[in-house]
Point group: C2
Chain length 341, copies 2
DNA sequence: TAATGAAATGCAACCGCTCTCAGGTTGTGC
DNA sequence: GCACAACCTGAGAGCGGTTGCATTTCATTA
């Protein structure tokens, strides 16, 4: 059961291999009769073009790469990536692209990976899930002619295509919600570990300013997106008697809750918490965490869409899209109007 | 900056393109002098072979596919897949393979995907994360000559290569732990939704038998791996007064805890819980969940290793490996000897 | 010294598809 | 009836590697 080639199909249909190729690729100038005859034979035989040969001849692989440069442990701690992968994968399915996944393990590996990907001609384009820090690959990438789109957690950059969630406004919304609910001493557990963290801090501060709240430095603590760091940060915050905390991630929100309950206080009765991310466990812990949800899958889908436009259409002006976030009200903010189990 | 070819390198080194190819591929019969000269030029120019051309000529792509046939929502609910992807990706990095990811969205899509993958010659081999049910693709796969390895959650099958975690023994161990801790009426929230679920139920029962405990059908409830289903299941269980529950997944363990606390009882004081999977939130909820951890990343790595052996070496006898699990003792079993924050 | 063979290298035929170019056919307008 | 255009189709030259076979080189051995 040797694999069929264009030549074989052509022979069966009494046409040349070029004609079969045209049918396969939906070229316009084919007579309906021939088209149908060839299509029927393709159907019957289950012929499929050899992708390597096609790629060699046409210089197009229909493979797009998803590169995740972050250190390893993030991946399986943070549901963000799982969702992103899913969104991108589904978008690839929908547009008949093949998705290749590249997890960067460390700096040297990053260099090696980018070198390979930019040199071996495998990919038509790349989606890069950067974090806005440590983006040392950018210059090389820009110098190449590889189409790429950055997704999420990235700094605003000139002339680069990217898709991100609106971290600033999400944080703003979280803080605003705490203000509306009536809290007066609203603390922040922030982080400048990545760009998203910085933006979330920014949103927090903007909300305070807009609502004429004092921005007390004693109510600002710093973590690194881990639960443990937030536990410590919360302990530092406690003496300053906040009545609410905006934690820049759910993981940190959980750490804050632990510190609060550990100090004999209660959430939200004594101190309210709002997180960010809406990780699955946000609804599992007690009290359930009020949080900000990012449209991660939409981001992935949009990134693919944008990338395909770049690849085919020669999009000229940079596509820079920031998607809105959503406030998910649960128990930890003390304003629940709707509780799921 | 046109991309270099073997021909170009050959010209620069004063040798033929065939010789350069041999250097690149480490063929033995090359004089050291030529080898070095060519290598130096490759180094200087950063030449990289075109993968499509190589694949076309050699019929080998060094791309392996990871196929995840489960329905969509599992993926981002269940950290299992994120970890599996990570394990496989790292193993691919280590062995210079490119990983392509295929998420199946529904039955028809499954058929379409397998047809494509078996027909277009893109992949050297596939890793398939099946669940032991709905494996309708298997006959077609076996009929093809595509090398493949099944990973996890799969039924024991003849003549097929697979890697799995020892669900039976893991469940046995969980149950045994509850027995050792002194509980007498140990309930099960199981599921036969997939093969792993069935095996976990089996391990539970075996433990009861081995320790001469009665196997009371009233203490066996069924869920579908969701938190909600376990909540309901636990409510049915409560009237029969279990003093401990083995839940066949952490998600279900969380649902059970909710039902217990919802009924005004406490975990583990009134009813102890052990889960399965060790999802990240298992340590985040209160009480922290005692559970069984699977070596998911090792499974991924081992699957790749096995697959590469099959691709290159013509491994003949089926490789069937079952990896051991680990009991993670936290609070919910009432036997904590060690608590993290 | 010539025959022998192993090692190193080049030649050229693929791998299967795309795409330009040119040839053939048919249709349109005058 | 003829010129010209529009449309189909086939021939064939790549795309950039790999690899069997032929050739050259050179040390070994009869």
């Amino acid at each position: 059961m040797k694999r069929l080639t264009l030549e074989d199909i052509g022979k069966m249909a009494g046409v040349s291999r070029a004609t079969v190729s045209r049918v396969v690729n939906n070229h316009p100038n084919i007579s309906p009769e021939v088209r149908h005859r060839v299509q029927r034979i393709i159907e019957e035989t289950g012929y499929q073009p050899n992708l390597a040969a096609r790629q060699l001849a046409s210089n197009r692989s229909d493979i797009i790469g998803l590169v995740i440069p972050n250190p390893v442990q993030s991946l399986f701690m943070d549901p963000y990536f799982a969702r992103l992968i899913q969104g991108v994968a589904q978008a690839c399915n929908a547009s008949d692209q093949t998705l290749s996944l590249f997890l960067i393990e460390h700096d040297e590996h990053e260099k090696h990976t980018f070198n390979r990907l930019l040199g071996n001609g495998l990919l038509d384009g790349m989606i890069i899930a950067a974090d806005g820090k440590n983006d040392s690959f950018l210059p090389q990438l820009r110098a190449s002619n590889m189409p790429f789109v950055l997704v999420g957690r990235f700094a605003n950059m000139d002339g680069i295509h990217y898709v991100d969630a609106d971290n600033i406004h999400g944080a703003y919304r979280a803080t605003e919600h705490l203000i509306h609910t009536g809290y007066r001493r609203i603390a922040l557990i922030g982080s400048s570990k990545n760009n998203a963290g910085a933006q979330r801090s920014q949103g927090y501060q903007q909300a305070l300013i807009d609502y004429d709240r004092p921005c007390d430095d004693a109510l600002i603590a710093t973590g690194d997106f881990t639960r443990h760091s937030a536990y410590t940060a919360m302990q530092q915050l406690l003496p300053h008697r906040p009545d609410a905390v905006f934690a820049a991630s759910d993981e940190m929100g959980v750490g804050a809750i632990r510190a609060i309950t550990g100090a004999g206080l209660r959430v939200p009765d004594d101190i309210a918490i709002v997180g960010f991310d809406d990780v699955p466990s946000a609804g599992a812990i007690s009290p359930q965490l009020t949080t900000i949800r990012q449209p991660i899958q939409e981001m992935g889908a949009l990134a693919i869409e944008t990338l395909l436009d770049i690849i085919s259409d020669d999009v000229t002006e940079p596509q820079q899209v920031v998607l809105d976030t959503q406030l998910i009200i649960r128990e930890s903010c003390g304003a629940a109007h709707d509780r799921d189990r």
